[in-house]
């Protein structure tokens, strides 16, 4: 055997453990979900049988699915730009030499390390009508009572705010690392040229942060479809599905209704959605980004 072939075999052997894990726990479940979505849910003595696209038709006719989709869209639109902008702002701030920098950095990062279930319980208290923190502040300014989580108009905003609060600190860390990698000579050059702080940010810092922004954006999109822990604690999808997000609905269908085939169908749609978004981001956005 020639050395080239040996090297190939070695390479594959080295890859094998990781690949086996990936195939077993990621690829196979995805494929299994796809297959299952074309079968009926097995119940007791009734085994699963092939039903073609029935589950997909059921999905298209399911008003809660559409509600979950539109909720998720608004949730994504609410969380992604805001948390990224906030993260960038916070990173720029704590990148400067300000008093108590370590303390501020730590406090910005704290939401990230707290477990979501625990913070959701804290936020539940913030949003409580009458004596919750938010209500006390509003009342101090003479505002009127609002039942933030108990009204269809405000519930989705309330859970969106929690998600932004939770995410911004995490993204800040990436921006902070990227900012510190920018050579100080660029800042000095800009200062000599007399560039304003805004020009320096817009012309130098922002373009150099773009690779980080792409990475953060992809994470933010995935998180917008993945973050549902707080829904369980704060609203359980209510009132009348006003805060039902797609993944929460999948859990409900799969593990409350035990309709595993329909849950698999919804999962496939979620996977497809995320795949499309990821392709769009890598294929289209990446070409417009300047890498050093």
């Amino acid at each position: 055997m020639n050395t080239r072939a040996t090297a190939t075999v070695h390479g594959w052997l080295l890859l094998l453990p990781a690949m086996a894990c990936l195939a077993l726990f990621t690829h196979w479940p995805a494929v299994a979900s796809l297959i299952e979505s074309f079968y009926s849910t097995p119940r007791g003595r009734r085994p699963a049988r092939f039903v073609g696209a029935d589950n997909y038709q059921q999905m298209l006719a399911d008003p809660i699915f559409w509600k979950a989709m539109s909720n998720n869209l608004w949730f994504a639109l609410g969380t992604i730009p805001t948390s990224i902008a906030l993260a960038m702002l916070m990173a720029l701030w704590v990148n400067d030499r300000i008093v108590g920098r370590t303390w501020v950095r730590m406090s910005f990062f704290t939401p990230t390390i707290l477990p979501m279930i625990a913070v959701a319980n804290i936020w539940l208290f913030f949003f409580t009508p009458q004596y919750g923190l938010l209500e006390q502040i509003i009342q101090a300014f003479g505002g009127s009572n609002t039942n933030w989580l108990g009204s269809q108009d405000t519930a989705l905003y309330a859970v969106t705010i929690v998600a932004i609060w939770k995410e911004a600190g995490f993204f800040m860390i990436f921006y902070l690392a990227a900012l510190q990698a920018i050579p100080p000579s660029l800042g000095e050059a800009a200062a000599i040229e007399g560039a304003s702080r805004w020009t320096y940010f817009r012309r130098v810092q922002f373009p150099l942060l773009m690779p980080t922004t792409l990475f953060v954006l992809i994470n933010a999109v995935i998180n917008a479809f993945r973050m549902v822990d707080h829904i369980f604690v704060m609203t359980r999808g209510g009132p009348d599905n006003a805060t039902t997000l797609l993944l929460f609905y999948i859990y409900q269908v799969g593990f409350s209704f035990w309709d595993t085939a329909y849950a698999a169908t919804l999962t496939c749609v979620l996977l497809l959605l995320l795949a499309l978004v990821a392709f769009a981001q890598y294929g289209w956005l990446e070409r417009r980004i300047h890498y050093r």
């Binding site: 119940r43 007791g44 003595r45 809660i64 539940l124 208290f125 409580t128 009508p129 009458q130 004596y131 009342q139 003479g142 009127s144 009572n145 039942n147 989580l149 108990g150 009204s151 269809q152 609203t235 359980r236 209510g238 009132p239 009348d240 599905n241 006003a242 409900q252 593990f255 409350s256 209704f257 035990w258 309709d259």
Partner: protein, 430 residues
């Protein structure tokens, strides 16, 4: 799933794997037992103590309680374990999950184990209201263990301030509204500072609503669990009453009232009367800094409240010896003395009339009379809403209730929509 649950699941798996099927005659029979509570806290200590006592009296049986989280998490784990082939021998799950468990072919009825006269007497010893959610098609599928019902708590101090008799709770819908109007207070700018009454509507509003619908004279589902009655005029009337409390009379907070914070609203004197489970009795007793009363729910056309809480179930995939041993444990833990002790320690309703005749319960009740209210209400109680595909069918009602309470649908329309959805789901089961 956090690590604790993972370990619990792994332990359950290991526990059932460690036991070779069939080789049971000589060695100890091991029964795994899923119980719906998170690890730690006073309840697990009580269960551990029960398990130790039982093993002492029955050395040939090893009892292995596994604390599996909330009811919802416990049934997810039990059914997942069932599908993978090694379910817990017995578990305490919601009484309303009976049809789901039957449809999944996961449980066996208790009837084959009822052999002697003594066994029959034991089965007949439970409150009939609790057996409604435990029997269907002439068979007994669950044994009541930790059961509850909805009651009204009222703040005697606020009653006195409003010029009401602090010892007299509302007995009818009209009185409830009248009292609530007197108990609602507003500040100068028109903001309500104290509500008259609060009926929680987050998560599982159907359960509290069932109090209202029963009082209006309706039954939400048939005993076979394949037909609901959501759009009945009496049900609409009940929902209209609830919606009117908030939207027309403005004595009840608008929108959705959170279940979890309702006791706290009561402690903070933000509400004068609340509907919640008897399971909150111990909580209210230790946290209310004012004299409070506990009463049966007020009556409409009749008195009424749903029952709730958990039953024992026997797994179909366990060996006959394991099932027999688990049955022995279930009989042992539901004797009047232990049922009484369990009720006193937890606030759940003791499951049999005989439990209320025990010395321990009598002593407790004379010191704390509200403990008896739940029992006194049981003759008026009905089975908690339970059907095939239970979670889905109750979700249809929950969504409708929340839509009406948040004002996006009229009660009539909301209940018609819920009924149509329930019909669609239940049709294949008839």
């Amino acid at each position: 799933m956090d690590r604790r649950e993972l370990l619990g699941g792994a332990a359950a798996l290991a526990g059932s794997l460690a036991l070779p099927r069939g080789a049971l005659a000589q060695s100890a029979t091991e029964i795994s037992f899923f119980y719906p509570v998170a690890v730690g806290g006073p309840i697990t200590k009580l269960i551990d103590a029960f398990a130790a006592d039982f093993e002492k009296e029955n050395p040939s049986i090893k009892l292995k309680p596994i604390y599996a989280g909330t009811y919802q998490e416990t049934i997810v784990k039990a059914l997942t374990a069932h599908k993978s082939g090694t379910p817990p021998v017995t578990s305490v799950l919601l009484s309303t999950d009976m049809f789901t468990l039957i449809d999944e072919d996961a449980i066996v009825p208790f009837d084959p184990f009822i052999k002697t006269e003594d066994d029959k007497k034991w089965l007949a010893s439970f409150f009939p209201a609790f057996m409604e959610n435990s029997q269907t098609g002439g068979k007994t599928w669950g044994i009541p263990f930790q059961r509850s019902t909805v009651v009204l708590y009222w703040n005697k101090e606020l009653f006195k301030e409003a010029g009401l008799d602090p010892e007299k709770p509302p007995a009818t819908w009209a009185e409830q509204l009248e009292f609530a109007q007197k108990l609602t207070k507003k500040d100068a700018s028109g903001n309500v500072t104290q509500w008259g009454i609060q009926i929680p509507s987050s998560g599982f509003p159907y359960w509290l609503f069932q109090g209202l619908s029963t009082q209006a004279g309706a039954i939400l589902a048939n005993a076979a669990g394949d037909k609901t009655n959501y759009a009945d005029p009496a049900v609409v009337e009940a929902l209209q009453y609830w919606v009117d409390l908030a939207q027309k009379h403005k004595v009840h907070p608008p929108g959705i009232v959170e279940w979890g914070t309702t006791p706290r609203d009561f402690f903070e004197k933000k509400v004068a009367m609340m509907w919640t489970t008897t399971g909150n009795l111990t909580n209210v007793r230790s946290n209310a800094k004012f004299p409070f009363g506990v009463a049966m729910l007020p009556g409409g056309k009749r008195r009424g409240s749903p029952t709730g809480g958990g039953n024992f179930y026997l797994s179909k995939k366990a060996t006959p010896a394991q099932q027999e041993a688990a049955f022995k444990f279930i009989r042992w833990i539901t004797t009047p003395e232990r049922a009484a002790q369990w009720g006193i320690d937890t606030g759940y309703v003791a499951v049999s009339p005989a439990a209320y005749e025990t010395a321990a319960m009598k002593a407790y009740a004379s010191e704390f009379p509200p403990a008896l209210v739940a029992r006194d209400q049981l003759p008026h109680a009905v089975a908690e809403l339970s059907t095939h595909e239970n979670q889905r069918v109750t979700k249809a009602l929950n969504d409708g209730l929340q839509a009406a309470l948040t004002g996006t649908k009229t009660p009539q329309k909301a209940l018609e929509d819920a009924q149509a959805e329930a019909e669609r789901i239940l049709k294949p089961y008839r």
